[in-house]
Amino acid sequence: MEIERYEVISSDEIDAAEALRINSLKEASQQAIPDPDRWLEEELRRNVLLTTVDYAVDWARSRSIFPLMFGLACCAFEMIGSAASRFDISRFGMDIFRWSPRQADLMIVAGTLTWKMAPAVKLVYEQMAEPKWVIAMGACAISGGTFRESYSVVPGINHIIPVDVYVPGCPPRPEGLLYGITKIHKKIGKESIKTS
């Protein structure tokens, strides 16, 4: 008895309907759909990416912060340590510590602030160009620390200038400062050119 091999295509309705759909889609899809950026030249297409202005500005700002060196006390050594090769602050685009406030974006107030020094801190802060950010590094800069009750110490630099990030510790280790800097990055990432 000879078996009819190609009788397998059954008259089952479901399979038949699927075959019809696939065949019709295949018929209709012989031509590829043009890319949305097809109107661009080939050279241009490889060099353009689209994003929002906010994202681009914030990305650029947060990855190119120039810190102002403002070492007032022992915390300054941890700040210097974080700039040296072991902790390497350059990884965050903060290659150069600036001594001039006019070239700096971020003021790292590292150490005890006395009332005699306070006018200088305020002046330097006001000389910095907008946008600018401030890190209060260490217990003394945050609240006056051990010297809070003293006659000569400012009980927290937020009495003098607005502070964005507080880095606690006495003194904080360089890892702590770097964590504070990443917090600054996140803060910058939330800013919009419409408001800033």
């Binding site: 009332w115 005699k116 006659y151 000569s152």
Partner: protein, 146 residues
């Protein structure tokens, strides 16, 4: 190493030069009266054998009953040193004569003592506050401050 002179021996020589100024003396220091301080300092600086040409330190201590001003003198010529002290019993207005004319190093030191301890140095050319600002009320290193 610098040799610390015996205060008793130095006191004897000061007594020999002019009687009166030495209040007390022990091995460590010579204590002289408030009024004669400049005279004794000049004597120690200019007498051959002493030649204290270098003022290492000038500071003050508050003992509540009196203030004590302490002078650490060194002779670079003979490589020896001496501690000279004087006391002011008037708490309201303690006065010591200035030694800036003898040692220029006393300039800032006396200003600091004036600033923090409130001791007036008579004859100082520019007796202003050094560490604190003009207009600060009180002298913070006094024991009765606060």
């Amino acid at each position: 190493m610098t040799i610390a002179l015996n205060g008793e021996e130095v006191a004897e020589k000061i007594r020999g030069a002019f009687p009166g100024p030495v209040v007390a003396a022990d091995k460590a220091a010579v204590i002289v009266t408030n009024q004669s301080l400049y005279q004794v300092a000049e004597f120690l600086k200019n007498t051959a054998g002493f030649d204290f040409d270098y003022l290492t330190d000038l500071t003050a201590v508050d003992y509540l009953d009196y203030f004590e001003v302490v002078y650490h003198l060194t002779s670079l010529k003979h490589n020896h040193s001496l501690v000279l002290k004087t006391r002011c019993y008037e708490r309201g207005k303690p006065v010591v004569s200035s030694v800036v004319n003898l040692w220029r190093a006393a300039d800032f030191q006396e200003r600091e003592v004036y600033d923090l301890m409130g001791i007036t140095f008579e004859g100082h050319p520019n007796l202003k506050r050094l560490l604190l600002w003009e207009g600060f009320v009180g002298h913070p290193l006094r024991r009765d401050y606060l």
